[in-house]
Each structure stands twice: as structure tokens, then as C-alpha cells.
């Protein structure tokens, strides 16, 4: 989340992704940086114990959202 915020502040488009149980934490972090409306993406939790094939599937599902967020930006 912080890396994404810092990239955006430096003018580099970024898409931060959290797993769904960390959405509140993501919002709190963005809030502490003065960006309460910061947009980020969310994946189902957990991911650390997924197989490579399952991870690939998750990635495929979220790629369109990543592209959309990168193109749309934080505006």
C-alpha cells in the first residue's frame, strides 16, 4: 500500500493489491498519508498456501482490474 502511494506521489502509476482481510488496514494506511479515497484492489485471502496454478488463476482474474486502475489512476 505504502509503495503504491509513494509511486503515485512520484507520478508513477501504481496499483496496490491487498487480500480482502486487509482492506481496512489498507484504508487506514492511506488515511494516515492523507489519502482517504486512495483506490486499491483486493484479492480473496489467503494466497500464501495456494499452488502455482491457483496463483496464476488469481492473477489472471485480477489483471483486467489492474490495467483499469493503472489507466484510470487515482482521479
Amino acid at each position: 500500500m505504502l509503495d503504491g502511494i509513494l509511486f503515485e506521489k512520484a507520478g508513477i502509476p501504481a496499483a496496490s493489491i491487498v487480500t480482502d482481510v486487509f482492506e481496512g488496514t489498507g484504508h487506514a494506511m492511506a488515511q494516515s498519508w492523507g489519502l482517504p479515497d486512495y483506490k486499491f484492489l483486493s484479492l480473496p485471502h489467503p494466497i500464501a498456501n495456494l499452488s502455482e496454478a491457483q496463483l496464476d488463476q488469481r492473477a489472471r482474474e485480477i489483471v483486467p482490474e489492474i490495467v483499469k486502475l493503472l489507466l484510470q489512476g487515482q482521479e
Binding site: 505504502l2 486487509f22 481496512g24 488496514t25 487506514a28 494516515s32
Partner: protein, 349 residues
Amino acid sequence: MTTQLASKRYAVEDLNHAIEFCYQQGWTDGLPVVPPTERAVRAMLDAAGLEPDKQVAFITNRQVAVSAEKVAVNAVMAGCLPEYMPIVVAAVEALAEPKWGYHGPATSTGGAAVLMIVNGPIAARLGFNSGDNLFGPGWRANATTGRAVRLVMRNVIGTLPGALDRGTVGHPGKYSYVIAENEADSPWTPFHVERGFKAEQSVVTVMAAEGPHQFYNQLSSTAKGVLTSLCDDMKHHGSTNGQPQYVVVLAGEHMRTIARDGWSKADIQKFVFENTQNSLAHIKRVERLAGAVTPEDETTMRPLVPSPEDVHVIAAGGRAGAFSCYIPAWAGGKKSSQSVSKLIQDRRA
């Protein structure tokens, strides 16, 4: 002290209402707090020789500046005596050090608390417990300085459970987790002197830490015997094998047994470093590391910490009993968080 206090004032009916008001505002750790009156906050600042607007710390990855006034407010709420204030200030300064890396250990699901180790003359002067029931309740200095630091984390830096504190199970050290080294009885160099301070200086060390794990050895009369039990327990302690550092607290009986064999803290560190290593094969078999076990994994050893110096040996704990303990640091690796020692300063003119 000339600068006005900047904190907002609230009118309340009486002491009980003030305590309940603090609960309603979400300013407590679950226990009642002492309402921070202007007079009490002033006394706290005066005891440390600090102006209220003095910036004690800046938490970079939260963009939060922590003023001396806010530290004093939370020290009052925690129940500190004014003379404890310089210790709380030094600990908060330490949390802002890049080496401690606030965001990771404060936020992580790993659930670390802030272990504080107090060294130097201030420990005995202010009544910090370094002996019986070391981590237990009953000593105001231990109980309230750590509590004050946690309240600063919560109320000033925004480290709220469920939001920016995501400890999965956490541990009771998040209320307060403060010990002093028993320098009077210790046969060894005090911890702060090992870290480059003078014996007559007072120092607080902070480490992002899991809970203390007690171990037992009543049978051995040698340093090697006692420490072999420690290492057997410690090497399989059950976290992620990513700890950058450990604290080993050696209590009275074990301390005397080890010292009788002439072992220094450096000897203990070396022994622990060498005897707590696990093979990659073992780590993979118990599913803490991904991948299939290869023949080389059987003989490739992984140390618990990067170097012997990362085992911090502290002499503390009760005089009787065949127990000591070890404390794993937060498992974020050395780049994420390391222990930090800070001089406790008397800034009064």
C-alpha cells in the same frame, strides 16, 4: 516551561466520569487510565526537561510527528510517575529509528510487542524489577513505562487493533513488556556496555518481540548442560524461522551455573548460535520452507540468527528456580526490524 499545552481540553463532572470519558474516546488499552490533567502533564514534561512542542519522534511510514506533550499525556494516562518520563521518551525515540522500522513490527500479523530492556543506574533508582516474577505484574515502573509506549503507539501513531495493528494472536506483552537487567548480581558485562554505552549511563533497548518462552533445566551443573536444554527448545520454537535476533534471559540459578564454568556472554552467544541451527531438510519437512527436500538439504544448516551477536544475553529473573527464557524477535528479517538502544537523557538544565 513557557509554551502552552496544545491538547484539547474536555470538561467532565468528576474523576469517574473522566475515566469513563477516556474509554468512550477509545484512548485506553482496556484498562482504566489516569485522566491527564494539565498539572499532571506539566509535571511529566518538567521531570524530563522537555517543552511540550518538542518533537520526540517522526514516524516516517505513518507521517506522524510525536510531540513531547503527547508522550506526556499518554505517560500520565498509563500511570507513570514523572521521573519515568525520560525512559518513555527514549523508547519512543527508538521506535522512530529506521532500524526499528515502525510499520512492519507495529502492524504485522506476527503480533510483536515492544520489549523494553532497561540498563544502567536509573533501573535500580526508579525501582524497575529485574528479579523474581520478571515479566509478571506488581512493579509500577515496569508496568507503566511499557504501557505508556503502547498508548503512544495507539493514541498518537494510530496503531489500533484491527486497523493498523493486525496481530493475529498478539500476546500480553502488548500491555507492557519491560524488564531491567540485574546488573548488581550479574557476573557479566551489562548489555548496554556491550552496545557501546558507559556503565554509568542509563539506556533503554527496544526490540519487536514475541512472548517469552520459558525453558527448564534442573539437572545440569554445567554451562554446557543448561545451554544445551535452551538450544534444544529454542531451535524448534515454532515461528517462521525468520527472526533477526533473540533475547536470552538467564535467571539466578542458571546464571550462577553458567558463570561458575567461566563462560562469558560471548561464549554463550557462540554456543547458542552454533547449537540452534536446523538443516534445510528439517525446515522443509515441517513445512516452514517451500520445496522438495534435496540430498544437500540434509547437511545444509541454517542458523536461527545472522550472527552470534544477534543473541542478546540478559541476566535477569528470580533467584530460585531452574527456569530461564528466550524471546524471539519479530520475524521480519534484519532489514525490517532490529533492536535499538537509546540513551535515557536528563534534559533538565
